[in-house]
Structure formats: structure tokens, C-alpha cells
Symmetry: C3
Subunit: 154 residues, 3 copies
């Protein structure tokens, strides 16, 4: 059996963890859409002119701080989570210790959930958001650097 | 032969469909760039100050509704399609019925193409955009939840 | 040995190159965060109201051209790089000539680094940014079209 079929295998807990936590992060990102929608309804801020009809008769705002806050949290997800998907997969192929890998996936997922919570659900003063963001940032960076050092096919 | 080499295989139509429709969605997202560029040229809305020279002598606008509309459609793609790439792959590894999987990939791709069309090409009143978006949203959610229930390595 | 285990293999330089350059692109995208942070600090443009405390006593701006410029470069990465991850992987599965594949990964990565440089580090007049963007755009398109023609499982 080749190394790669041992790594990309249901017998490898790190691989199973990557798929599980990757899917959890997908759901976490999906939640941003109803979170934004709730703020748009609450403050009558339509995403687009054709949505005005759904706010029947209410006075329309162009934007509102609460809407912008959720949108910033969502954009931060877009900036961080898709690159984690690639970096996490690349890291998995470096044959890491499965427990370490699982712990990194756990920490990353927790950090990103906390990031959303302190940014867009209950606003917590800094450095809460900075720490949550930084945890995810450094895990992604560690994984990408480990993969580059391992594969170094330039 | 391990289960995974049966799933990630050219003999598995669901895998071939994932790669095909994934690539179609890449092209669909790429189209957003010329669509935006066309509106920027039409209304003389440069993306950046150094682009003003390409609009030789025309009166420059800071923004225009038609440009913003295409940009919103593009951002919505960024919010939805990369997570589908991960969720679709995770779902594929749950050994789904190949026909069901293919139909979900077809429905997702069609829904996202319609989303772009009714949002940024010909503006169709709601709930057209909502339905197109919701179809993609629920397919992604179904795939991610199915993968979590299957792998559940927390 | 199946074709796919020959392609997704540490013996395939194109696969190793995909993982290496993918991870390099992850790092390149990560750099956008400190680049944005540096401009936010320099011009006192907090991302969010709770960040004001970190700019102790300085006069706060709502936005600044230099901040917006880095943010546009970052958004352009989000629009282009995650779809390259999918297209590059799909292309790899079409069994391309390894040298060609590696050269495309090299050219793509170089083009995206140059794009960031001329957009957000040292502003270079057009067509510098257009050429860098276009190189990446056409490589992604070529890969996606090659994969569709190869797999064509609709």
C-alpha cells in the first residue's frame, strides 16, 4: 500500500477529522447567511432593490451597523476558511501525528466559531476577536509552511 | 481495493461528476469578472484610480447600481461555491448513490447559474433569486450534514 | 495500480507541485491580512468600532484609499485563488504532462504574487495589474476547460 493511500484513508483519524471539521466549518459559514438576513429584516436593509417588496411598507435604510458587522464577519470567513481547506489537506499529506492533526483541526474550528460569536453575535471587546482570528491564522500558516517544507517541489 | 480508492476513482460516475461540475462552476464564477468589467466600462466606474486611463476622457463615476449588482452576485458566489467544493467532496466520501449524487451536482450547478442570471444578467423579481440561492444552500447543507453524520470524528 | 493512484501520488511531480504551490498561495493570501492591518494602523481606519481602542487617541477615519486598495487586492484573491485550487486539482486528474503542469502552477503563483505587488504594495500603472490578473485567469480557465473535456460527466 502506498503512503498516500494510508493517509487518504478512512483508517486515518486525521483524514476523518479533516472531513468532519471541514464540513462543520461549511455549516458555520452557512449560518452567516441567516445571521445577515435577520439583521437585514430587523433594520429594513434590503440586499438589493428587488428585495424591498419583502419589507412591505417599512422605511428602507441603505445600510446599518449591525448588518455591516455580520457582513464583515462573513468576509473574514471567506478570507480564512477556504485557504484552511487547502492548507489542512496539504498538511494531512505530510503524515502528521494523527492526534496533533486532530487537535489542530479542533482548535481551528473552535477559534473560527468563537470569532463569529464575538464579532457578529455578542460583541465582545478586543482582544477577543483578535485572539480568535490569530489562532486560526497561525494554524493555517503552520500547516501551509509544514506542507511547503515537506513537498518543496518548486 | 479499499473503499476510498473505489470512491475516488474514474470508475465512479459521482466522482467524475464532481470534477466536471466543479470545473463548470469555476467557469461560471470566472464569467463574473468580464460581467463586472462590462458594467464598469459601460458606466465609467473604474475599479481603481490607475484604471481611469482606460476610460479615456469620460466622466468618472465612483459607483453605479449596475456595477454593484454584479459585484453582489459575485460575492454571493464566493460565499457559496467554495464551501460547496468542500461539502461536495466530503459527501462523495460517504459513498452516496451515484445517481443521487450526480443529480445533486446537476441541481446545484443549475441553481447557481440561474442565481447569476436572475441577479446580474436579467433582473427577475423575487422570489426568483431567493429560490435559486436556497436550492444551492440546502444542497450544500445536506451534503455537509451527511458527511458529519458519516465521519463524526470530533 | 489504478491511474488515479498514479496521479495522486508523491511520485508524481505535478501532484507535489500542486500541493507546494497551493500552500505558497495560501501564504500569499495570508499576507493580505497584515498588509491591510498596516494600512489601517497607518491611517487610523479601524475595521470595526471595538478596534478604536487600539488606535489610542488618534483621529479616526471611516475609510482611506490605501486601505481600500489592499482590500480590493484581497477580494481579487478571493475571487481567483479558491477556484484555482479546484481547477488545478481537476486538471491534475486529466493526466497532464508533469512539466507542463508544474510550469502552469509556477506561472499562476508568480502571476498572483505580481498581482498583489503591483496592486497593493507598489502601485504600478496599467496594464501591469491587468496582465498579472489575466495570466492567472487564463490558466484557471484552461485547466477547468481541460478537465471538463476530459471528464464530461454531465
Amino acid at each position: 500500500m502506498s503512503i498516500i493511500s494510508r493517509l487518504i484513508s478512512f483508517d486515518n483519524p486525521a483524514f476523518n477529522g479533516y472531513v468532519t471539521y471541514g464540513s462543520v466549518l461549511v455549516l458555520k459559514m452557512m449560518i452567516m447567511a441567516p445571521l445577515t438576513g435577520r439583521q437585514r429584516m430587523k433594520h429594513a436593509v434590503p440586499a438589493s432593490p428587488e428585495d424591498v417588496s419583502m419589507l412591505k411598507g417599512r422605511e428602507i435604510l441603505k445600510s446599518h451597523d449591525d448588518v455591516e458587522r455580520v457582513r464583515r464577519a462573513h468576509l473574514n470567513d471567506l478570507e480564512n476558511i477556504p485557504i484552511f481547506f487547502l492548507a489542512g489537506f496539504a498538511y494531512l499529506l505530510t503524515d502528521p501525528d494523527p492526534t496533533t492533526a486532530l487537535n489542530l483541526f479542533r482548535a481551528y474550528t473552535l477559534a473560527r466559531c468563537l470569532h463569529t460569536f464575538v464579532y457578529a453575535v455578542v460583541v465582545v471587546p478586543q482582544p477577543a476577536r483578535g485572539l480568535a482570528w490569530g489562532t486560526g491564522f497561525f494554524i493555517t500558516g503552520y500547516m501551509a509552511i509544514k506542507a511547503i517544507c515537506h513537498f518543496k517541489t518548486f
